[in-house]
């Protein structure tokens, strides 16, 4: 097991370098080492343009810039944003907020998705199951910004039950509504995955055996049905943490949450290579780690899966 984890961690190194190189190259291709956007509607004088390019190392060839960036990463120096702030500082401010939001969303989608999914699966074809299927279809069909604006308008502006926007106070209670919005789409998927899996397993031989030997219903459901039904769900939920962090951009915009989404968007628009690459790299690392955790959870859920 330890060897498996070590091997997975080692595998991350080439993925890390490959990804940063790719992103750096793409950003460099898109911006072409240009500082045009800094001038807005004006045009920079050649002398000023040269000065700014030198300041951000944009006058050097691509390989120099990339290696320089890598060199910085080793010493945890991710470069400087155009506003003069260290990218490390921008990262350290934005990531915890989005991480908190995404974790809360994962919590909601897992708890509600699995709970409702189990009930629906056990009573397949019943009224609860039908209602859930229709509701989840509705949620999947609706763009997240529609759900977001609707939730903001109803709960925030009209009923005063939740903050309209989050802004400076990013405490957990204030993040509940945005997290529910962010979780809504995944919730629908988790519900459907769980429901199908449970519906399939509840008629399986081992469940019949368990019931036949007189185990209480509760134990049959939790240990025999649920545990065997969770593998596809865990795969989805685990991979979703990374996806939610990257995909929080719409939700963060609607609720004005100063997280990864807005910062990354601004950096892309401005062509700030150090910021974009650092943010995306951090997202990739989170994605890789959550995938590792998912793989490790398999062994817990199904002892037949062994790591060598």
């Amino acid at each position: 097991m330890a060897w498996y984890i070590a091997r997975r961690l080692l595998q991350m190194i080439p993925v890390f370098f490959g990804a940063t190189l790719l992103i750096y190259f793409l950003i460099w291709k898109v911006t072409g080492g240009s500082v045009t956007a800094l001038a807005g509607q004006r045009t920079l004088t050649p002398a000023l343009e040269a000065q700014l390019k030198a300041q951000y190392g944009l006058d050097k060839p691509f390989w120099w810039q990339y290696l320089h960036y890598l060199k910085g990463i080793v010493t945890l120096d991710f470069g400087t944003s155009y506003s003069g702030r260290p990218v490390r500082e921008v990262l350290a401010r934005a990531f915890p907020i989005t991480f908190r939001l995404a974790l809360l969303a994962v919590f909601f989608e897992a708890v509600f998705g699995i709970a409702f999914g189990v009930v629906a699966g056990l009573r397949k074809g019943g009224w609860f199951d039908s209602t859930m299927l229709v509701l989840s279809l509705l949620v999947i069909a609706m763009p997240i910004f529609v759900i977001g604006f609707l939730a903001q308008f109803l709960f925030g502006v009209t009923w005063h039950l939740a903050p309209v926007t989050v802004g400076s106070d990013v405490s957990i209670p204030r993040l509940v509504l945005p997290a529910l919005v962010l979780a809504s789409l995944s919730f629908a998927y988790v519900l459907r995955l769980t429901r199908n899996s449970v519906a399939e397993n509840k008629d399986a031989d081992f469940v019949r055996t368990a019931t036949a030997k007189g185990l209480p219903r509760r134990r049959v459901v939790v240990v025999h049905i649920l545990r065997n039904s969770l593998i596809p769900v865990v795969t989805f939920v685990g991979a979703d943490l990374g996806a939610l962090m990257g995909g929080a951009i719409v939700t963060e915009g609607i609720f004005n949450i100063p997280g990864v989404g807005g910062t990354l968007y601004q950096a892309v628009v401005r062509g700030e290579a150090p910021t974009v690459v650092s943010f995306v790299t951090a997202l990739i690392v989170i994605f890789l780690l959550s995938n590792l955790i998912v793989d490790l959870l398999y062994a817990v859920l199904d002892p037949r899966i062994r790591y060598a």
Binding site: L38, Q41, T263, R270
Partner: protein, 503 residues
């Protein structure tokens, strides 16, 4: 505290390095220059006691005694001269350095490498007097003195400009609040500066600039009275905001416009053929209808190359009928151009997709297609930057949208950067000696009225050549919460922050 909308400043808060709205609105609160612009767009002396000139070229500036920065150090002639010299020196890479262009010696400090560290046109006489020599007579220099790059800086700034940009010390009506005033990407709080002695003292106890990445979230906050002033109603709410806000909705013209540009290397748009085609295109655009339908009246048809809010604006300049919607005349001119060289291909209008331009560009293309029966389409670019790169390097090969937003309220500021031969923001590469001569004369005029007359003549030349098609002037839509009153929008589309009052 009054909460007003803003956005994270893109650059450190140094006046000569702040060239965008998010930082600009804060810098203008923190600093006081020689002059200031009031809510009606009129200029008043602020730190200046007097600004004397007889020829619009050589200025003698006297400061009022007793002004200090909020750290207690006095505001002297050096505070101004040193700040301007810092801003102009190319090695300091200040984004607003071009603003010092008229001052003698600017080209020396902008050379690469610089031939001098300071501009020879600036001379300190004593603590309260300095002189400014300009390369040529410049009547709007007196107006420019109200613009941020001409603010003074305290000596503390020059010791560590990087640190200063994160925590500026100014002499303006407000100063940074104590403690964590600037929460990056979240908000920035300013409180009244007790040592301020100018003509725009705050009538509130402070402002919190809340940073939004989109105006929709800000609008929701405004509806819930969490935000007190919002200076831009988002597109999604334009149709309903007057209903939502009632008498707290504000509509005010602002010094910003929208143009359609053509570079001379664009096929069919050179020489006389190009002039006829641009005139035809201009008359094929139903500006009034597009402004009503797409923008709910927040854009009005352009009448010239400047903006209707500027002093001296004239909506009926000779030749301005080229901006009227006139399909019959458009077809006639287009056919006339076809007689020189027949039209081929499609007419593409480049725009940046990140700026909400698609709807009106498509409408423009429609209007052109229906009138001239040519294949006119919008050509989206993902970001503003990508569009600008091709415009600046003259490789765009399409017509493109661009525009101008005034930094200070003069018509000359719209015409000089955009159309004078060789100006750095002359994106269309326009050059006409007659136009250049008229603008130079307008700068050298002895009175503003005389200057405006010459600007009018210069614009008539532009209307004849039509290097760029003026499309819209902006009407700003804004609103405020139930908590505040006395909210007035100024000429540049920002609130008159000092005068906002709690109810």
């Amino acid at each position: 505290m009054i909460a007003v909308n803003g956005s994270e400043p893109q650059n450190p808060l140094i006046p000569s390095n702040t060239n965008e709205n998010g930082g600009g609105r804060i810098v203008d609160r923190l600093f006081a220059g020689l002059r200031y612009i009031d809510q009606r767009g009129a200029l008043h002396d602020e730190v200046a006691q007097s600004i004397d000139t007889t020829d619009q070229q050589h200025y003698r500036i006297t400061l009022k005694p007793g002004w200090t920065f909020s750290d207690g150090t006095p505001v002297t002639a050096h505070s101004f001269v040193d700040a301007w010299n810092y801003g102009a020196l190319v090695t300091n890479a200040q984004l607003q350095s071009y603003t010092y262009g008229p001052i003698v010696g600017f080209t020396d400090v902008q050379a690469d490498p610089p031939r001098a560290q300071t501009m020879s046109g600036l001379k300190v006489v004593d603590d309260l007097h300095f002189t400014v020599d300009l390369v040529a007579p410049t009547i709007d220099f007196r107006t420019r003195l109200a613009y941020a790059p001409f603010y003074p800086l305290p000596t503390a700034a020059f010791k560590d400009m990087k640190a200063f940009g994160q925590h500026p010390i100014g002499n303006g009506p407000y100063r940074f609040a104590d403690g964590n005033a600037w929460q990056h990407d979240v908000q920035l709080t300013v409180v009244p500066n007790e040592s301020y002695r100018g003509g725009r003292p705050p009538r509130n106890k402070g402002l919190t600039f809340v940073f939004y990445s989109n105006f929709d979230a800000a609008y929701s906050d405004l509806l819930a009275d969490n935000l007190d002033v919002l200076d831009t109603i988002p597109d999604s709410a334009i149709a309903v905001y007057k209903h939502d806000l009632g008498d707290r909705a504000i509509e005010a013209p602002t010094a910003q416009n929208q143009w359609l540009g053509f570079q001379s290397n664009l096929a069919h748009f050179g020489g006389e053929e190009g002039r006829l085609r641009r005139q035809a295109l201009s008359m094929a655009i139903d500006r009034a209808q597009i402004g009503r339908k797409i923008f709910h009246g927040t854009r009005i048809p352009a009448r010239d190359f400047t903006s209707a809010v500027l002093p001296g604006f004239d909506p009926n300049l000779p030749g301005s009928n080229v901006l009227d919607y006139n399909p019959a005349e458009a077809v006639r001119l287009w056919n006339q151009a076809d007689a020189i060289a027949p039209w081929s291909g499609s007419f593409e209008i480049a725009y940046n997709a990140d700026g909400g331009h698609q709807a009106w560009i498509d409408a423009l293309a429609n209007s052109i297609r229906n009138t001239l029966h040519i294949d006119a389409v919008g050509a989206p670019y993902p970001t503003f930057k990508q569009l600008r790169d091709q415009v600046v390097h003259r490789t765009i090969g399409k017509a493109f949208r661009y525009g101008w937003q005034g930094d200070y309220p003069t018509m000359l500021q719209f015409l000089e950067p955009g159309f004078v031969t060789g100006s750095e923001s002359n994106d269309v590469g326009y050059s006409n000696p007659e136009f250049d001569r008229l603008l130079t004369a307008a700068e050298a005029a002895s009175t503003e009225e005389e200057s405006w007359k010459l600007v009018g003549q210069a614009q008539s030349v532009l209307l004849r050549d039509l290097p760029t098609i003026p499309v819209f002037d902006y009407i700003n839509s804004a609103g405020y919460s139930k908590r505040v009153h006395n909210v007035v929008m100024t000429w540049n589309g920002l609130a008159d922050f000092e005068n906002i009052e709690l109810r």
